[in-house]
């Protein structure tokens, strides 16, 4: 029997973002079919896998680090991935997710759960069930080492395609001119 050739393992992770970057990933459209031949998607909000696996080759991380769960996940990702990519403006700059930073957590939670509540105006505080907000939402690279940065809110499918293909060919994608774009 022929040995099965190991395809590069790719993961995508969703931290404090709106999932727009993942939507842009899906906008690769027919290129997704090509991609499916080249990689193994081992972990992703788009795949039903519960725990982040070991020995991942490439991980794309969407979103800022905004709560304790994100923080833990970011460390797990770094520990088990060869290349970590900051996937979009929230991961790279904090972006929309970090707009809350100028208000304190108490003020923020009060506004969301009490002032604007229609039905029950109680604050969820069982942090075994619901992640605890960090004092500030921060870019991913302010917490862990990141190998490359995708920009834009969200990054274009072309940029995502370029990044993945560069990595599949063993090059770290460089975005200092082409694709560099905030917002």
């Amino acid at each position: 029997m022929k040995d099965k050739i190991q395809k590069p393992k790719v993961a995508t992770v969703w931290l404090g973002g709106c999932s727009g970057c993942h939507m842009s990933f899906l906008d690769l459209d027919e290129r997704l079919i090509e991609l499916a031949d080249k990689i193994d998607l081992v972990y992703s909000p788009l795949a039903d896998v519960k725990t982040f696996p070991n020995n991942v080759d490439i991980t794309l991380v969407e979103g800022a680090v905004t709560n304790d769960e994100n923080e833990e996940m970011a460390h797990t990702v770094r520990k088990h991935s060869r290349y970590v990519l900051s996937f979009g403006d929230c991961a790279t700059t904090g972006n929309v997710t970090a707009m809350r930073n100028r208000f304190g957590n108490a003020e923020l939670i009060d506004r969301a759960y009490r002032e604007l509540a229609d039905i029950s105006n109680s604050v969820p505080n069982d942090h075994t069930l619901i992640a605890q907000l960090r004092e500030q939402a921060i870019p991913l690279h302010h917490l862990i080492r990141v190998d490359a940065f995708l920009h834009g809110c969200p990054p274009t499918p072309d940029e995502i395609w370029f990044a993945i293909n560069e990595l599949l060919q063993g090059r770290i994608p460089v975005f200092n001119t082409q694709f560099l774009r905030y917002g």
Binding site: S86, V96, A98, Q136, P139, H142, C153, Y182, G183
Partner: protein
């Protein structure tokens, strides 16, 4: 007026005595990034983006305020200069609240363009997330301090071109802020003529027209050339849609 000969990036140029390095560079299409400088306004040398390297001078000097001298040997672009320019843009980004994705000036912003031209891939400095205010009391315009980079173009255009001097800078260091009058709200200004010149020269989304939303605020600066040439040469130039 005496003519000076100087070398920029290995090429020889001649310039008028009293001219700035930036002015010579611009005449010969040598790119030097600028932010606080704007043709038609006085020069303040505040942002330091235009720094150049001059042989024999250990410090980097701003091209907009440094006058040409005979025999100067100037570098306008190299890795050292780009490193400092990148640091300046990164510091500007980290000390305000710049969320391009929801900004009125997105895709029409000089700070964004600078970030691209210096290759600012990410900001290493901690973001300060300052608690800045927004003043929407004027009937036509808004001032959002979150996006102000303190270039003082608004202060200068209002004083030097419109002659109203509505704006000033208050505070020091990181607490510096642009104020209206003696720190009144803009809508209560007795001196604002509602001309909108400050809005048009502002390089970012700090000053904008009411009613615009994300990416819609395009600044038109052609009026400056129109007024300045009229004043200096008594000529009315066409500025098209600039």
């Amino acid at each position: 007026m005496a003519v000076k000969t100087l070398t920029i990036n290995g090429e020889q140029y001649s310039a008028q005595e009293g001219e700035s390095i930036l002015s010579v560079a611009r005449q010969h299409n040598i790119p030097i990034p600028t932010l606080c400088h704007l043709e038609g306004l006085s020069t303040v040398g505040a942002c330091r983006l235009c720094v150049v390297q001059i042989e024999g001078i250990p410090r980097l000097l701003p091209a907009c305020t440094t006058k040409v001298e005979e025999g100067m040997v100037i570098q306008t672009a190299n890795e050292r200069l780009n490193k400092y320019r990148r640091m300046i843009v990164a510091l500007l980004a980290s000390e305000g609240n710049h969320v391009c994705a929801v900004c009125v000036a997105n895709n029409h912003c000089e700070l964004q363009d600078l970030a691209y031209s210096v290759g600012l891939v990410r900001v290493r400095y901690p973001y300060l997330f300052p608690n800045k205010q927004l003043d929407a009391t004027h009937k036509d315009y808004v001032m959002d301090h979150n996006r102000c980079v303190l270039c003082t173009r608004c202060v200068r255009v209002c004083d030097e071109v419109e002659g109203a001097h509505v704006w000033d800078v208050a505070g020091r260091g990181i607490n510096s802020e642009i104020i209206t009058g003696l720190d009144y709200s803009w809508g209560n200004s007795q001196t604002c003529t509602e001309c909108g010149k400050c809005v048009m020269v502002c390089p970012t989304g700090a000053l904008f027209e009411k009613g615009v939303t994300v990416s819609e605020m395009e600044k038109k600066k052609g009026f400056l050339k129109y007024i300045i040439t009229a004043r200096q040469k008594k000529e009315w130039v066409s500025i098209g849609n600039e």
